[in-house]
Symmetry: C2
Subunit: 231 residues, 2 copies
């Protein structure tokens, strides 16, 4: 078994409050999992046999309905848990997680979960908080879908991405992983056509700089004003 350095996971909120010995115990059951761009950690409907912590990179979690239409549930950022189907007693993964860029994760077999939370109850509390935060996000998204117009939702999504995965660049804050018009459409319950038109209009106003699978926010307050507009 390869020895994994404790410092890799010490900063993850999921393992906050665990001491060095506990971290070593947790790590002793983990296996590294390389995910080249495009590869899936798991696919919707597969038996849920593992859960993961993202160390480096970025994953897209998507969900299909019966008719094959797809939405983008969320992006997984470093230090996030993902694939925690066993926390909700689901025998299968409810979505698909694939690498948006070359990524590295740690994987634990589900069988290790029960022992881990029994020995380290803090883990259950931390996981509860993580789920609670995601529940909050989901309910906010439902509210946005229910009450906002498409342009506002796209503005909100872009601002959130810039906050979570933005890197300062010459022209503003650049979202530092490939992001297509289709991705934004699947995040905002819209279509790639509408997203394309919207970004073109914003670019004309100097709010963003839009490229092929790339997006730079030039005027965050301007976007925020669009997101906050009533209508």
């Amino acid at each position: 078994m390869p020895q994994i350095d404790r410092s890799l996971i010490a900063d993850a909120p999921a393992f906050a409050g665990l001491d060095a010995a506990a971290l070593d115990d947790v790590l002793s059951h983990a296996l590294p999992c390389r995910l080249p761009k495009g590869e899936a950690a798991f696919r919707q409907g597969e038996p849920a046999e593992k859960f993961f912590l993202l160390l480096h990179g970025r994953l897209r979690v998507t969900r299909l309905n019966a008719q094959g239409q797809q939405i983008l549930v969320r992006f997984v950022n470093p230090d996030d848990l993902f694939g925690v189907a066993m926390a909700i007693q689901s025998p299968v993964y409810p979505g698909t997680a694939e690498a948006a860029v070359d990524s590295l994760a740690l994987a634990w077999p589900n069988s290790a979960w029960a022992g881990m939370i029994a020995r380290h109850p803090t883990l259950a509390v931390n996981t509860m908080r993580a789920l609670g935060a995601r529940l909050q996000d989901s309910q906010q998204r439902i509210l946005d879908l229910s009450t906002q117009k498409v342009e506002q939702r796209i503005a909100g999504a872009v601002l959130r991405l810039a906050r979570q995965a933005g890197r300062p660049s010459e022209a503003g804050v650049k979202i530092d992983f490939p992001l297509s018009r289709q991705d934004l459409a699947e995040m905002t319950a819209s279509t790639l056509y509408t997203v394309s038109r919207t970004l073109s209009a914003w670019e004309a106003f100097g709010l963003v700089e839009a490229g092929r699978q790339s997006l730079t926010v030039r005027d965050a307050p301007g976007l925020q004003a669009i997101a906050d507009a009533e209508g």
Copy 2:
């Protein structure tokens, strides 16, 4: 301190796996909380000082956006936890919970939470599962909002309500609490006008029986067919 009977909460999933002594310990911190129809257990934005378990009745949880538009987040059923803001580290309630019918709940001060999960780690696991289930529901709802037409969403909402709160009656399965067109609109990101038209059409086909704040499902498979239709 009034002695509350253990059997009141023994069936709640939140307290599954706790023995009699643990249940008594939990109950020793609880206070009964009567909620006449229309009264709120808490309102959005208030400091979150308590969490609750519904014993009897039915609550509507709503959420407002900055412009005052409202959605109906969920109905709270007996044996459900609600107001668990502290599980997600939120200092205020993110929504409003008001009684749809005369209801009875148990309330705990937030200060009791830390001790309770420390003494009974199963509680954290149970709460985690409950949050996970709600997260699943929320993500399914986002998928529905993103990919379905209004009529399908209304059909889905009605079927879910009939399953959760249906009581067999002469003509079919009656949803056994007051439910207005406005409620259904707020659940499905629609308007009371569209909901009214839809129910009228369904009634003409014999799928449902719609009254003032009341709804009876006569042909669940027929509704399911509408919900499943592609388009």
